[in-house]
């Protein structure tokens, strides 16, 4: 797509974020607002692989995308050409984000991150923000090398990591917060109290929505405006996009909606990358 031309329609791509809560992310309300405000047709495309979405953004085949914090950083710093539009929060005053938990089985004598030294530790996979990068940074802060000073196991998923800790195969491990506190318990795989949380990461910046910088500049600023002002529960109820606050379905079950974000919010992710020198950060 040519940067100067106004597009006929907006292609909206969504990668399910690490902390998604439902099977289908609910973007319908957002789309309705976007279509009304821009007067353009919005076409939604779901993808499960962020490399595909980033390459699509780079090639100008995608105009708007919902991404994870880590993939945002990779896209931004890797030159895919994106502008952050906003991020979801539960409360307008809250910093957008979620956390990684360090977990041990109930009754373990490990009480903090230092106790992980020399143990078998479950991570999620080497590209996971909350399942590997932040935990690695946490360990490195304490002078523990996540490759040499513990026996790392990549469990492949947050659920797998948590369950492997629960059954004792791993002495300790990491997973994102709601996987431990709600999801595994709701699905019946674990009981309350099977796992103990011994560490919490700093807040990982929330998932940003981005626009391709190949769009015309005025359209990008219009989109930023919309994300800042129109895509939150009160505004949407007011504008009639939702009939009531309870009816307002937003992705990640967000209770408020979007607030604007600065690129600098993701410096935390960049710092972690720097500390861990993880392969996934090389862009």
């Amino acid at each position: 797509a040519d940067a100067a031309e106004a597009p006929e329609k907006l292609v909206f791509a969504q990668i399910p974020s690490e902390s998604a809560q439902g099977i289908a992310d609910d973007n319908e309300a957002i789309i309705r607002v976007l279509e009304r405000e821009t007067g353009l047709e919005v076409e939604i495309q779901q993808a499960t692989d962020y490399a595909a979405v980033i390459e699509g953004l780079r090639a100008g085949q995608i105009d708007i995308a919902g991404m994870g914090p880590f993939s945002y950083m990779v896209a931004k710093d890797g030159g895919a050409g994106v502008e952050a539009l906003g991020s979801l929060v539960d409360d307008p005053d809250e910093e957008p984000g979620y956390k990684s938990f360090g977990i041990v089985p109930a009754g373990s004598d490990i009480t903090d991150l230092e106790g992980f030294t020399g143990k078998t530790v479950c991570f999620v996979d080497p590209t996971s923000t909350s399942g590997f990068l932040y935990p690695s940074a946490g360990l490195l802060d304490l002078g523990i090398d996540p490759e040499a000073d513990v026996t790392p196991i990549f469990a492949g998923g947050h659920d797998a990591s948590a369950l492997t800790v629960a059954d004792g195969t791993c002495d300790a491990g990491f997973a994102y917060d709601t996987m431990v506190t709600t999801e595994l318990i709701e699905s019946g795989s674990l009981k309350e109290g099977d796992l103990e949380v011994v560490w919490e990461s700093e807040t990982i910046a929330g998932s940003p929505y981005v626009a391709s910088d190949k769009l015309p500049a005025d359209l990008i600023s219009q989109l930023k405006e919309i994300f800042a002002n129109d895509l939150n529960v009160p505004a949407m109820v007011e504008s009639g996009a939702c009939s009531s606050a309870a009816d307002c379905q937003l992705p990640e079950a967000s209770k408020y909606g979007f607030i604007p974000v600065e690129d600098s919010l993701y410096d935390g992710v960049r710092a972690v990358c720097k500390v861990t020198e993880a392969a996934a950060c090389r862009v």
Binding site: V11, A13, P16, A20, Q21, G22, I23, A24, E43, Q45, Q46, A47, T48, D49, Y50, A51, A52, V53, I54, E55, G56, R58, A59, G60, Q61, I62, V74, G78, D125, P126, T127, I153, F154, A155, G156, G157, D159, A160, L163, T164, D167, T169, C170, E183, L184, E186, S187, G188, S189, A279, A280, R282, V283
Partner: protein, 569 residues
Amino acid sequence: MGAPRTTNTEIPLPPRPRPSVNRIAAWSALFVLLTAAIWSVAALEINVASMVRSLDNAANFFSRMFPLDFPPLGELLVMTGQTLAIVIVATVLAVVLSLPVSIFAAANTTSGPVMRGVARTIIVVCRAVPDLIFAIVLFRIFGLGAFPGILALGLHSIGMIGKLYADAIEQMDGGPAEAVRSAGGSRVQWITSTVIPQVMPQLIATALHRFDINLRTSVLLGYVGLGGLGLELANALRTMQYQRGIALALIILLLCIAVEMLSGVIRATLLGRVSTERSGLLGFIDRIAAGWVTAPRGGSEPQRTRHGTMRIAPQWDSERIRRFAGVALTIAVVALATVYADMDFSTLFDDLLALPQVLGMFLPPSPQDLLDVLVEAMLVTIQIGLAATLLGLVLAVPIGILAARNVAPSVGVANLFRTIIVIIRGLPELILAIVFIVITGLGPVPGTLALAIGSVGLLGKLIADSLEETDVRVQDAVRATGATGIQVFFAATLRQTAPQIIAHVLYQLDVNIRSATLLGIVGAGGIGFFLINASRVQEFDVVAFIIAMVIVTVLAVEAVAVWTRRVLR
């Protein structure tokens, strides 16, 4: 007949038999499928002009793959060894389990319609349940480790191996089996003594083919904590380390080419198509062997050894030495792999107690409140599968034909196209998908095109292999009339394999429908997005529901395949 008739009298013609209702129905079913596929392609609205305009995106994407970035040699060797060990054990396991299942599934060797149905269903279920789901379940039962990973890979492989084995058995000449039956041989006896030796070339080719697929898709083993080439590759691509990713893909490709060459050699030997003039090393061994052993000669009496016992073993010529070395090497490799794969069975029985609880998570299957969405997504998936199969067919048929050594104009051409097929198989799916995304944008089009290209890798090989297995003597007979290669192909070769090729195309449709479910990565829409998400968020009843929908679809395709094959034989 009597003396030659003169031909000026009216020839009494038999009435032309009416084609049977079944045949008409089978052709109609195929025709309906074809129409649906054409409609699916049309509905995609592939815009070639805009694709051409976006080609520089692809060039740009490719340019970022170089220079290649190989991991350090030591690390690479460990990784390769680990992957090979696991994949070998998993494939052998799958072969061992598939053989009996396929014998029950094949019409000519089954013990009865009930067992046949059960066996076919087992095969379809193994195929329809993605290996990832097997891994999730098995991980919950056995925990992390090599054993659940191998089991997941092995179980899913039964879906393909079992089906192709059953098809090969059904295609076989029944004469020898009848001969052993009429000598009073039991079912087990005639199966082991005539059926298995006859289909051996296909058995080995299919096993090696699956080995090569497992090598590339061992990604899911990451889920049970096992590393290896597949996982490294997937990680590299997911994190956009294309230079590393392509380097790893190249290594996997080399392994796949080696496997393909091995497969070619073994098949040629078993099919008896090796040159009888042995030269080079084999000739050399023969010449040495002729000094100290000799072939039995003379028709009248059995040969006796120095000790007076009868000679009942063939001479040790290069042929036998090679066969012996081959078998010994295979056994050694499998044994080594089993040891190296490092499986832990100590808690096997305790673990199995968790089975009911784990299965309980999947039961009862439920769409929750998404029934319409899921059904619609399933239809989209089927549509993508149909379109991809049709486009793939158009590409795979000529390539597959040119890759068959007994049909291609020359062995060189056949080898060239065999290599093309292997390379296409070796292309990582994600790379294919991204290439099409940067050309066409997200949506069903890139997914369909990626699948269509991927079809060449599978369908092209299946077609080439089954053409090579036709009875060469029948081709000789037609060739002896002065027919051209193409004429021989249509009149004799294709005619012999047509039912099998139809079966392969329907199998490709089934593969594409299932792959389309995993095409969420390219935003193709369809059921796959929901499957991946549902397992991510632990909604296992939805996972089970989606799998049930896929099983029903695959069973339907399978039923059409089995039926048309039987009718059109």
